[in-house]
Amino acid sequence: MRYLIAYSADSGGRAALAVARLFAGDVTLTVVTITPETWGYPSSARVDAEYAQFLTEHAAKALEEARQFLGEDVEAEFLARAARSTIEGILDAIKELDAKMVILGSARNGPFGRFVGGSVSDSLLHVAPVPVALAPRGYRPSRQTHVQRITCCFAGRGHTGATVAAAAELARRHKVPLRLVTGVVRDRQMYPSLVGWQSERLVEEQWRSDAVEAQRQILAILPEGVEATAELIDGPNWEEALDRLDWAEGEVLVIGSSRLGLGRTFLGSNATKIVRSSPVPTIVVPGAAGRS
């Protein structure tokens, strides 16, 4: 079992390594850095030889930094790959190495402690065939922290099963408890509602009892050996709702892809907000069609 870290030599890359360290020991960690491809055949007078040389050295340096960051005690492999684009390089590496997850860092703009999508993660979240873990900006638990608990945030109906199954699988793989969370998040209210401000409360209450029922059903069919609890959260928006949860150090959040995912990762509207507001690393699992 192998997890891939898509590494770049910056703070985002280091946050990704910090997330990877949560899983150290349970799986093989492979740090991959992607460099631009040079011409594949001898060019006249080898004009790009120096450039190619520079790239090789750059990659080696980056990987050496990664090795130092991870530390002696963490076993990992280090690879440099040349590809026409970063996305292509990552996708090829996933396929070739049969990786079960790919870990990415955050872009540099945006708040500390939250994940912000950059060009690579935006593209990868549309096409990745395996779960994608997103490290919040500046994520840095203590070195020895191992993953403590998997929290799975799900809506409660439809293809939810695939998301929960993936989260349960993760929990079993890393031998940690699973926590199911359903959010009752309503951030908007019809202003001149004609039927009173309470009407949305009624809808909310109905949904709350539906969600509890859905959680109960899912708890009943979880595979053996997964210790699971369930919770409801509510709030005027996802930021506050997620804030009301207790987060253990080394906890990770698992969410599903949109129905449009079809076997690939694809963030829906709620998932986008969750990713933006999560205080812990978020793992986006692909849509159902990809699994049998």
Binding site: V184, Y191, G196, Q198
Partner: protein, 488 residues
Amino acid sequence: MSDNRSVKTALFRRKPISAYVAETGATTEGGELKRTIGVFQLTMFGVGATIGTGIFIVLNVAVPVAGPAVIVAFAIAGITAALTALCYAELASMIPVSGSSYSYTYATLGEVIAYVVGFCLLLEYGVSAGAIVVGWGQYLNEVFDDLFGWRMPDAISQPPGSGGYVNLPAVVLVALCCFLLMRGARESATVNTIMVCIKIGVLLLFIVIGATAFDSANLEDFTPFGVASIGTAAAMVFFSFIGIDAVSTAGEEVHNPRRTLPLAIIFALVIVSTLYVLVALVAIAAQPWQDFEGQEAGLAQILRNITGATWPSLVLAAGAVISLFSVTLVVIYGQTRILFAMARDGMLPEVFHKVDPRTLTPVRNTILVGLFIALLGALVPLDVLANLTSMGTLVAFGVVSIGVIVLRRTQPDAPRGFRVPLYPVVPLLSIAACIYLVAKLPFNTFLLFAGWLAVALVGYAFYGMRHSRLRGVAAEAGQPVERAGGQP
């Protein structure tokens, strides 16, 4: 054979107020809502919720009935609306729940009457939405005419019987609104304010420009159909006061409701009635009353006729198109939530209270409501819809007024955030006014309404009574009592 008594218990079982409070979680988490709304805001809220439901479309229905006396009809309808809104406010302050008159009736007068009121609300909301979307289509056509000199052919913009097959613009608008609601769209306070400004703005524009063509000769034959016809017209234009009850439902958030609620209701009605009366006066003075019949997008047409230019009618029609859109959105929203409340009580099939987990909206409910309204808008003429709406609303309001009296007698000590002034004069007057207006509606409306009531009663007998959540629970005088052993 032993059922006689139990059926009677079933028909008049009441839902305890405490059950409502528990259901909406009104008192859990966060405690009391902040009481922040003052008289001014609440007045604006009432004006915003009221204007737009009828004034843009109802003149062409009501003027051919009463002639210039329709001006008086607006005043009568306004007074009735004020009386009922006050009664409404007392119940709303006692029973802080959604579902409006349906819920209030369920808590006071019993299940079968609540069921009937629920069906009346289907007229107030669903059918009025049908009327509004028809009017929207007319104003949209007017915009096309002013901009491009082109109108949609009658075949796709008129209901059968008026020279067409289907009212397509109406269907399109309903579909749009339902789509937005299913996606979880909401109208914010800001949008509401903008809409209120647009509505008042275009009405003022109409009054100012229309006044330039004031011809008192048009008013000379003031009551061509006699004084009695004024009542009929008042019943028809009551349609344009729907929405004033929205003020009453804001009780929870209102600062000092005892003072704020009646003041806001009265201010809102004074503003709205003044605008309506002025619009009616200007419109009638601008052209002979005989011209109103068959006119479409009436206000815009009048502006065009008197100015000879297209821009005033274009501005008015565009304002109407925008604001009627928001009104439709709000009314359809209200309808879905009322059906939701009824389904929660077991009065309607479960499909009406299924919530979609992604958008947290009752999607299937919204689709069904949309289909119902689209069918009405596409196939039924405007005057029939407007009359049915008035009928349903008046009956529902009348029942609410009765509810006030019933609760004063059965639960004199229950806490009320707001009490009707001059009890029992106001509720009695309110009931009398509702009965008077209902009695004046045309005969075919009564037939349709009777049919509708029959549907409601059949629905109750075969569904509501058997699936009611209160089945097997004896509820009396607002106190939940423990479950009875089994079915008799």
